[in-house]
């Protein structure tokens, strides 16, 4: 009796394979383990050997045709043996639309995938164009998907782009009161990045509180100058970024990245600015802050922030920061312990300005008060140097005219 050789599952869960090349013809004598056919399943080209010696009585499927796992590929028998009539008739049905409309798919020797009816050429077209066939309603006989259906789907962004949606996807479970939230796109990337930083870096945070009276006055005066020069606004962020770049000259270990177990300290200061968007925090980069003026920084900052919120930033605008600043500005909270933007070694936090009562010359006065924090990689620095760095920054923020001392 003829031996039926079926397409095996060479992987785990493979459902189909495409016949790339027949290596034997009907009537050929094959030895045990002799390769008979090359089949491609999910980018694995597999030469399938004969499991027993004999003569090829029949082979099923043409080159380029997709076969389901478990469908018969070859009948191997004795030289004078004939293939069973029923099987041969069944598997040799032509794969055109007329045949499909006349016969149920289950009778096609497993050449179709369950639930999705499409010819191999259609499947290939869909695969190459990145179209998910399960998302398409076929317009052919018995709902079969034809090439025009795929082409229409290519022109309909929703089908192709579903895979790359940046926002999270909610799967409702009607029978329970919980829902599963699948993170995708930017949110998934943020999650991975945060987890990596937390796993790899021993974080320590130092917090300082400061009287911001002079800083407020400094910003007020500078803002008037900025307005005169046509700038719409001047926030505290460009001032802080500039001061950070100045103080870092004395503390280069915080302007650094820990890559591949090596610490790289940088002469240039590229400040990442954490921007809150609908998808989560993104960190565009202000470059060469050490060489730039505050008005210049104040001009670029809102542009970066709005491009971040519109998801229009180019990859290189998000790369290469050497230290990051995050602000809790409008969100409330006294201070936080931010996570370092891996593989940097430090992140500076600036928090909401609050009014506190301060005793000055024996009298209580209301003063604007600011909290700033430095979270650092404890592998790179210790608490003493971190406290000194943050103290220097606090001094400069507390008396901004000290910037003059750094002029060259």
């Amino acid at each position: 009796m003829a031996f039926e050789f079926k397409l095996p599952d060479v992987g785990e869960g493979t459902t189909e394979g495409e016949i790339l090349r027949w290596l034997v013809n009907v009537g050929d004598v094959v030895a045990l383990d002799q390769p008979m056919v090359e089949v491609e399943t999910d980018k694995a080209v597999v030469e399938l050997p004969a499991p027993k010696a004999g003569v090829i009585l029949a082979r099923f499927g043409d080159e380029g045709q997709t076969m389901a796992v478990g469908s018969t590929l070859v009948l191997i028998g004795q030289p004078d043996e004939k293939p069973p009539t029923a099987l041969a008739a069944e598997v040799l049905l032509p794969m055109d639309d007329d045949a499909l409309s006349a016969k149920p798919s289950a009778h096609l020797g497993g050449m179709l995938l369950p639930g999705i009816q499409a010819a191999p050429a259609t499947r290939r077209l869909a695969r190459q164009a990145g179209v998910d066939l399960s998302q398409i309603q076929g317009s052919g006989p018995r709902g079969r998907i034809v090439p025009d259906d795929v082409r229409r789907a290519i022109d309909t962004p929703s089908v192709r782009e579903q895979e790359s949606l940046p926002v999270r996807e909610t799967i409702s479970a009607a029978s329970t009161d919980r829902e599963e939230v699948v993170f995708k796109g930017i949110r998934k990337r943020i999650a991975d990045h945060m987890a990596l930083s937390w796993q790899k870096i021993p974080h320590v945070t130092v917090v300082e509180k400061m009287d911001a009276t002079r800083l407020v006055a400094f910003r007020h005066d500078l803002k008037a100058l900025a307005t005169a020069r046509g700038l719409a606004n001047l926030t505290y962020l460009p001032i802080l970024a500039k001061m950070v770049s100045v103080v870092l000259k004395d503390y280069p270990m915080f302007n650094a990245r820990w890559d591949n177990d090596r610490l790289y300290q940088y002469r240039s200061v590229h400040v990442g600015i954490a921007v809150d968007t609908e998808e989560g925090l993104v960190v565009p980069v202000l470059r060469h802050v050490e060489d730039r003026g505050m008005f210049d920084l104040a001009t670029e900052l809102p542009l970066l922030a709005s491009r971040a919120k519109e998801r229009k930033l180019a990859p290189d605008e998000l790369a290469g920061s050497t230290i990051t600043i995050t602000g809790g500005g409008a969100l409330g909270g006294l201070f936080a312990t931010p996570i370092i933007n891996y593989p940097e070694v430090a992140i500076i936090g600036m928090y909401p300005m609050v009014t506190e009562g301060v005793k000055v010359d024996g009298e209580w006065q209301e003063r604007p008060t600011l909290h700033i924090s430095l979270t650092f990689d404890h592998r790179v620095a210790d608490g003493v140097s971190a406290s000194r760095f943050l103290g220097a920054l606090k001094s400069l923020l507390g008396d901004p005219l000290g910037l003059l001392a750094y002029l060259r």
Partner: protein, 260 residues
């Protein structure tokens, strides 16, 4: 295959364990040349691997070009595409492993795995064997990856490596046999391609160009692809980064082999 001093060959010693292997040859191949030469090198190494019962891991890079799978040979404009791409500086080579066209060049690192006498291995195990050390190498550079498909990307499949929703590496494999003194010996050839840097070339566009000439329906999307350079935020020049990735990959491969 290589020039003295340019290529490191290391015998990893006898390994036993879950991977069932035995002797490994790690080849850090710095020989320049077209992809076709490197693909032939794989075939030569496969014969040697089968004869000696040694599994091989080889890291290599090729001159700019395009490497296609066998299924692309059936495209109606194949011959025309071959000439046009060669004239444009992108010679096309055919690999044994599956999948569709993949660009090659100075920012792209390839890993070949030759696994003789695979026994009851599954294709999934081979894909994982290719991906795991590369994942470890990238992880050491701060890049977290996961396997998955990216519809619309070059040579898509379930066993790409993704960063977020973008492809950074792809894999393919072929199960072959060699006749040696009358006996048939099976082996597996696995390929992994890692996109390290683009060198200002739009790799997706080059691939689309090929399918445009060849009459294929494929059209890939540039935003489905990323590179190590984009992901690790490295400020070092691309060539230095490629060298660093190779170094990390060699380290990870040694660790992986020792853990087998």
């Amino acid at each position: 295959m290589g020039q003295a001093g340019q290529k490191g060959h290391e015998r990893m010693g006898s390994i036993s364990g879950p991977q069932r292997y035995r002797n490994w040859l790690l080849v850090d191949d710095h020989q320049p040349g077209q992809a076709s030469m490197h693909l032939q090198c794989d075939e030569v190494l496969a014969r040697s691997a089968v004869e000696q019962g040694t599994a091989v891991l080889r890291i290599w890079q090729s001159d700019p070009g395009l490497v296609v799978g066998q299924s692309d040979l059936k495209l109606t404009g194949w011959a025309e595409a071959l000439g046009k791409m060669a004239r444009a500086g992108w010679p096309v080579s055919v690999r044994q492993t599956g999948g569709t066209a993949v660009p090659q060049g100075p920012g792209i690192i390839n890993l070949s795995l030759i696994w003789p006498e695979p026994g009851d291995l599954t294709s999934d195990e081979v894909f994982h064997a290719l991906m795991t050390p590369v994942q470890q190498a990238l992880h050491s550079m701060g890049i977290l990856t996961r396997p998955g498909a990216v519809p619309g990307s070059i040579c898509d499949g379930r066993y790409n490596l993704l960063v977020g929703s973008q492809k950074i590496a792809g894999t393919a494999q072929a199960w072959r046999s060699i006749r040696d003194e009358g006996a048939l010996h099976r082996y597996i050839l696995g390929h992994l391609v890692l996109f390290v840097a683009c060198f200002d070339v739009n790799l997706t566009e080059v691939t689309n160009q090929f399918y445009g000439y060849a009459g294929g329906q494929a059209h890939y999307h540039a935003d489905t692809l990323t590179t190590v350079q984009k992901q690790c935020r490295a400020l070092m020049p691309a060539r230095s980064l490629v060298a660093e990735v190779r170094h990390q990959l060699v380290t990870a491969l040694k660790r992986w082999v020792m853990a087998c």
